[in-house]
């Protein structure tokens, strides 16, 4: 992948050098963009326009190629769509390099909040204020892809993901267990699985760090910091990461270590996915984004429960995270065609196609979408019972150095590994935040 990039950059550079000797930098970028564009058009027949989508969802390649793209192309014969995903961990880096070099695709899959806002501020993403389809989305849906003052919206919201726990129903039936609603029930359940010994109670590792933070901390946390109250409190400065809510979240997270497979410090994300889908673990702390893959790989029935509350009857909070959207490369040579596609993405036809092809990625459109997948239905039903919030480090708080999200990954992994106490962890997060953030 990187090789190809280099080859393109080299080629573009050589062309510039050959054509205009030592010209200035602007010339280099335009030529690079031009040559990229010529390549795209040259590949397609004369009248049709080919649009390329940049994305980190390489798991979804088949769904785009088999379901979504054919549906669009059938209705819009002049436009061809090419879905070109990059590995999730590399996406941000690769994308910004491509945008700088003028070789990025026409349509850009948007990360929520600051990552995309930065791209918009740099002029890489086009404003989509005049896109008709935008009226299908409410303010909450758009909140992740809008400027701080609300004047420009730059990505069409595609989906959110909901955090929770997926469990192996066969294992639960075998051991006579039922879904826990409170924290005590949750740990009693894990104890019961551990006592039986046939299944790993929790399938997770801490090598990749993001699991500890995303599948652990951000999963169970909203019940402690009361969802939006806590999240906006942090931004406003009325709450601190050293508050009891956060210490308690980490204390609870630290207990997980006893229930994880042995050697969890070196277990990666794919390892834990395999452990669960092979039927060797009872509970998988995670989120709805796993449903598609798990349906395909696991041959047992699965269920899901929301993060347990402290005492029975408490309001429950879930992380219903605005996760993915689609924007337009400001430098695209086919803005009109790109807008046609974006309008279609905003339509209910796309919502329903996408939400059902990718169970677990829930539509953000105002119009409700009916879902066929039972596991996805279970996840989305929590929206009625619980209060929704998003991950607390995503908006504004990860703009500086040390980066709060990175710190949360490292700290959450260390807390589970037992190398950092919950108090020290929260202190470190708050100190890091204080170093650059004033509410």
């Amino acid at each position: 992948m990187k090789r190809t990039n280099w080859a393109i950059v080299l080629l573009a550079f050589a062309l510039v050098v050959a054509a205009c000797g030592g010209d200035d930098d602007d010339a280099a970028t335009t030529t690079a963009a031009d040559s990229g564009a010529t390549e795209t058009t040259a590949a397609a027949p004369a009248e049709t326009v080919e649009l390329t989508i940049e994305s980190w969802r390489n798991d979804d390649l088949a769904i785009w190629q088999d379901t979504i793209i054919p549906a669009f192309e059938a209705a819009n014969p002049g436009i061809k769509i090419k879905f070109e995903p990059t590995a999730p961990a590399e996406y941000n880096g690769v994308l910004s390099t491509r945008l700088e070099g003028g070789t990025a695709g026409d349509l850009i899959t948007c990360r929520p909040f600051d990552a995309s806002l930065e791209l918009f501020d740099q002029g890489h993403l086009a404003s989509l204020n005049d896109l008709g389809g935008m009226s299908n989305f409410g303010d909450v849906a758009k909140s992740a892809w809008i400027t701080d003052d609300g004047s420009d919206v730059f990505c069409v919201p595609m989906a959110s993901v909901i955090h929770g726990f997926i469990y192996n129903k066969t294992a639960f039936d075998e051991l006579g267990l039922s879904e826990p609603t409170t924290e005590d029930e949750f740990y009693a359940l894990l104890d019961a699985v551990a006592a039986d010994g046939n299944y790993e109670p929790l399938a997770m590792g801490t090598t990749d760090q993001w699991e500890a933070a995303t599948m652990g901390f951000q999963n169970i946390g909203p019940n402690y910091w009361q969802g939006e109250t806590g999240r906006t409190g942090l931004i406003a400065g009325t709450e601190k990461l050293t508050d009891p809510a956060y210490v308690e979240t980490f204390t609870s997270l630290a207990k997980w270590a006893d229930y994880l497979p042995s050697g969890f410090e070196a277990i990666t994300y794919p390892d834990s996915q395999n452990l669960f889908t092979l039927g060797r673990a009872a509970v998988y702390p995670s989120g709805s984004w796993e449903i598609g893959l798990f349906n395909e790989q696991a041959d047992f029935e699965m269920g899901a429960f929301a993060p347990p509350v402290k005492t029975s009857g408490d309001t429950c909070y879930i992380s219903d995270h605005t996760d993915i959207a689609l924007g337009m490369n400001a430098a695209t040579s086919h803005p009109d065609e790109a807008k046609v596609f974006l309008d279609w993405v905003a339509s209910s036809e796309f919502s329903s196609l996408y939400a059902n092809a990718l169970p677990g990625f829930f539509s953000l459109a105002n119009e409700p979408v009916s879902l066929d997948d039972p596991l996805a239905q279970e996840f989305v039903s929590w929206r009625d019972e619980c209060e929704s919030t998003i991950r607390n480090s995503y908006q504004i708080l990860s703009r500086g150095e040390p980066n709060l999200e990175n710190e949360m990954w490292a700290v959450s992994a260390s807390v589970i590994n037992g190398t950092l106490t919950p108090e020290d962890a929260t202190q470190r997060l708050q100190d890091g935040l204080d170093a650059w953030y004033t509410p």
Partner: protein, 306 residues
């Protein structure tokens, strides 16, 4: 080549008294491709990244402010010094484990009467040709507590992760010092060793008194190559531990730190200024190492004409 050019130009200068001095055309023709390509793709980007480290992300000149962030009191200080220390540990493993073992294997391979020399040589050199991603993935599986052979999470503990990764890299690249040493060893004339043997020297003594001094220049070259390669290392750590170089940044080296600061990571937005600053620091550290080698070692070591 450079040597020759210099003498030639000097000759033209002194010899042609009446004629105007000019560089011979063929010198220009032969030097041009390398000079142009190096300048365009190595020298210019290098100088430009040094320049970038003096500017903020908005393009304002900030002098040494970026560099100051790397020193105590600065935002990057703890991560930078941690990365630098880890990087030296990573280098130490190569210097003290890879190179001596490489030498040992090379010596064994040159023993007279060894059968299957070519096969050993190829097998030991083989891993060097593998992609780092493959090496990382295979070792990750071998060491996985779930599917692998090792119960202890070697890659997951702060104390063991970096040594484990270093040894993976040693395993992969041991063929390189071995090949260099092997080439030098086979170049040592048999008469020298023969003469020593006639004088009654034993194998061990022959090695230390004859072979080792003759190898010394090569040891220096390999050390400096190892140093440069290790200080620039990135790929193995990135492919096994990711850009955050866990656990707790215990495997974070300059390359991964640079990647995170320049390209960004999850919600961290990449910054050209910080990236260029880290790159400049890498350049300086490598430069210091190379200077120490040039003046402290290479100029003092005796080279024998054989």
């Amino acid at each position: 080549m450079t040597q020759k050019t210099v003498t030639e130009t000097v000759e033209t200068k002194t010899g042609g008294s009446a004629k105007r001095w000019r560089i011979p055309r063929h010198v220009i023709v032969f030097l041009a491709p390398a000079v142009i390509i190096y300048t365009l793709f190595m020298v210019y980007p290098l100088i430009d990244s040094l320049r970038l480290s003096l500017y903020s992300d908005e393009g304002l000149f900030v002098g040494l402010d970026n560099i100051r962030e790397l020193f105590p009191g600065g935002n990057l200080s703890s991560s930078f010094w941690n990365a630098l220390r880890n990087n030296f540990v990573f280098f130490a493993f190569h210097f003290f484990v890879q190179n001596p073992i490489g030498l040992l294997i090379a010596v064994l391979l040159t023993q007279p009467g060894l059968r299957g020399r070519g096969a050993y040589r190829t097998l030991i050199f083989g891993p060097t040709l593998l992609s780092v991603v493959i090496v990382g993935f295979i070792w990750q599986l071998i060491l996985s507590p779930l599917w692998g052979l090792v119960e202890t999470p070697l890659l997951g503990k702060t104390a063991t992760a970096l040594p484990t990764l270093s040894l993976m890299s040693v395993w992969q690249y041991i063929g390189i010092p071995m090949m260099f040493f092997y080439a030098t060893l086979v170049g040592i004339p048999e008469d020298l060793l023969e003469a020593a043997r006639v004088d009654g020297a034993t194998g061990w003594k022959i090695f230390w008194k004859i072979t080792f001094p003759l190898l010394l220049p090569m040891i220096g070259i390999i050390s400096i190559i190892t140093y440069i390669a290790n200080l620039n290392a990135f790929d193995l750590i990135y492919s096994v531990q990711g850009a955050l170089a866990g656990p707790e940044f215990s495997t974070d080296i300059m390359g991964t730190l640079f990647y995170r600061s320049f390209f960004g990571q999850q919600l961290q937005i990449g910054s050209t200024a910080v990236g260029a600053t880290v790159a400049t620091a890498m350049f300086v550290v490598i430069l210091i190492g190379v200077l120490v080698y040039l003046f402290g070692f290479q100029r003092r070591v005796t080279t024998y004409e054989l």
